[in-house]
Symmetry: C2
Subunit: 439 residues, 2 copies
């Protein structure tokens, strides 16, 4: 262990839940979380940076995601592709992803390669080499990616405009991949400035799940990551908040390539970080009860009974926002109905629920299902590590995660009913994807 790399447990952040978790912080500020699971001799090694597309500077949307791509372009020690090849040769794999509030890099490998993964990530936290040609090529790759997910895909475009209308100030209203015209202008200098600003030990979270002992992980991390000096840069984020929504907004996208008309409704609602006690769990439950599966209320009323839609789905984006979060309802109307008809039919169902409330029996069944789904998902230490990483990057504590199930089980039908005004027409944005003749 290097002299500047002692470490200590973070007070108040060890958890008493069934999942044993150990948390530490290196002296350079880097947080270390270990979730041991000895069922197979494999580890998941993840480095999370607490910055994502919501930290893209104004006019530079897409830079977080762009840099995520560029992080694979190599250092002097590990030229592009070399580490991937080494990892694949031992049966490992690696990838990365960018969210609004985080960017994460991860490898899964046999446990004896944990220190090699650390050496690789620690090296590219500091020593990324970028040349103009590489940046230009990757920009073209990302523009092509953008064409696939949005510019040539009306449903993707609709999602972008709906979010932009619903979230006008907070940077999470912008697409993670960035606006095309801004991606086109991203330069090597932009990428390097962003890298130096955010790729620091203070801003990083090391998450190791799997066949590893917390103290051994800590010792390794202190020697490898601990050798990186603290940057001294602030962790403060510039996150303008949105004004209150007082008007319903409708976005209509008419496009000749639309084969399936579609409805997207977006309501901004409290995130687990900003919600009152139990409110985030009530919203999770509400999404599941409304449109979580084929027994859900909207599916039963609108797909089965009224045959107004062929598919309908509701989601509460509970782990993705440090600020407010999104509640979305998406549906595909049947040919004789328009997205507008479906939109109104959903309002009618929601209005009815505000009158009648929810049946206690369905609420209990939904809780059981959500807890089971969570257990299944967390059975994989990859998805378990993702759940922890996202939550910690969004400012939730280990205690918060440890007590999630208890909070979910405490949600009453009355608490659920009390969330319905969050989905009122006035506060939401509807997006209608239609064929040109219907616009």
């Amino acid at each position: 262990m290097l002299p500047n790399s002692f470490s200590h447990p973070i007070e108040g952040e060890t958890s008493a839940e069934a999942i044993p978790v150990a948390a530490f912080r290196l002296v350079n500020g880097m947080q270390v979380v270990v979730i041991p699971d000895h069922r197979s001799p494999v580890v998941t090694h993840m480095v999370w940076y607490r910055n994502g597309s919501a930290d893209d500077p104004p006019g530079k949307s897409g830079i977080a995601h762009f840099l995520e791509h560029l992080m694979f372009k190599g250092t002097e020690r590990y030229p592009a592709g070399r580490f991937s090849t080494l990892l694949a040769a031992v049966g490992g794999e690696e990838n990365a992803f960018t969210g609004w509030d985080f960017t994460a890099y991860h490898q899964r490998a046999p446990r004896e390669h944990l220190s090699a993964c650390m050496a690789y990530e620690a090296d590219r936290m500091r020593n990324l080499v970028l040349d103009e040609a590489v940046v230009a090529t990757e920009r073209a790759v990302i523009l092509e990616e953008r064409s696939m997910v949005a510019d040539a895909k009306p449903a993707g475009l609709l999602g972008e405009v709906v979010a932009s209308a619903a979230i006008p100030c907070h940077p999470a209203g912008r697409p993670i991949i960035g606006w095309r015209h801004e991606i086109e202008g991203l330069t090597r200098a932009d990428a390097l400035a962003y890298y130096r600003r955010f790729y620091t030990p203070e801003n990083a979270l090391l998450l190791v799940a799997g066949d590893a002992d917390p103290q051994a992980v800590l010792d390794l991390a202190a020697g490898i990551y601990g050798a990186i000096p603290a940057s001294g840069l602030s962790l403060e984020r510039d996150r303008p908040q949105d004004p209150p929504t007082r008007a319903h907004r409708l976005v209509t996208l008419a496009d000749g390539t639309v084969s399936e008309p579609r409805l997207i409704r977006l309501h901004t609602v409290p995130s687990p970080r900003t919600a009152g006690s139990g409110e985030a769990e009530a919203l999770e439950l509400l999404a599941f009860l409304l449109g979580g599966d084929e027994t859900s209320i909207l599916h039963t009323r609108l797909v089965v009974e009224r045959a107004a839609a062929t598919r309908i789905q509701a989601s509460y984006w509970s782990s993705y926002f440090a600020g407010r979060s999104r509640f979305t309802i998406e549906g595909l109307p049947v040919p004789r109905m328009t997205p507008g008809d479906l939109d109104q039919a959903i309002d009618a169902v929601l209005d009815g629920l505000r009158e009648t409330g929810f049946e206690a029996r369905s609420v209990e069944r939904a809780k059981t299902q959500l807890v089971a789904d969570a257990l299944y998902a967390r059975d994989s230490h990859v998805s378990l590590a993702q759940w922890y990483g996202m939550a910690l990057c969004c400012g939730l504590s280990l205690d918060h995660l440890a007590t999630w199930q208890a909070r979910l089980e405490a949600v009453t039908p009355e608490a659920l009913r009390a969330t319905l005004p969050l989905l009122s027409r006035q506060g939401g944005v509807s997006g209608h994807l239609v064929r040109p003749e219907a616009a």
Copy 2:
């Protein structure tokens, strides 16, 4: 004249038009424009700063306007109110205003008080004194102002949401006065940081119109404003651009206090700065022909012939944006029609015009009228100075202003028709102000 304050004419910026204009730049970077007019012994003295609400930092909307208020709170030499009192005693008056791209302070006074006005403005460019109590009081004043123009005025709120939907990235999409929740958080430190950033000689434009000789104004300015050292701060502005609009967006604001349902349509269009040759003038002409007076096309078709609206008006905001500008159509539907009906009726008129084009005779009549209006407006040296100040702050040149009339007169009916796709439904935002039962 102080040794660091010599000056020289700005090359290529003197104008050959009927209005004689002299332009100089002091060595500290401050621009000086003089528009002599000796009909009466009065001068208009304006200092324009080339920053406005579009320079409000993210999360600090309203700071440009807030600082404009605070600029009247006094310096050591001129405690609050003293200069206003002195000015009023000699028959002068003063005021200020904030736009997206500028903040301007102006006095009108008998010509012998020009140097006093300069001394006052030069002093408060550098020596503003702000205490916490004054900032808190002014914040309350501004929140009250905001209540009057927006929070308690549905038509104002609708305008804000429409602009926010139409202009999601560019900071000109935010209200100049600021969002309430952000105004509430503006501090003395924010105001001072903004003041130090932007209130510099390089960023300032002195505009003197009226009974003054250019060389005498320059000598005075060099002595008074020239004594302020250059700040060395960049004039670059952070102005993220909006993505292309591919979807029609509808904002519906239902409010119990609505007495008059209302329609606002907003299309973002090229500004004089970004337009192709003659395009800005075609848009000016288009706004006038569509909804400039009671002989206009929309008024004739929708108010007179169809009795669908009681009022309708179209505007091209030609002098307000360094980036893209706004084209708006606003109307009040008659009681039996909804804002949505009126919106569709306008589309029908525009579709018809795309087929038929414009009559050469009406186009010529409109040109004559616009040129006459401009001459009348510029007959007042206050409004003449405003026209110059806005244009120069938005990056237009004196030559551009001098040749405006020739460009306007060259617009053909075909060029007018070619602007109509800029008002297509797909690219615009409609705002409907309705009573709650109609939402």
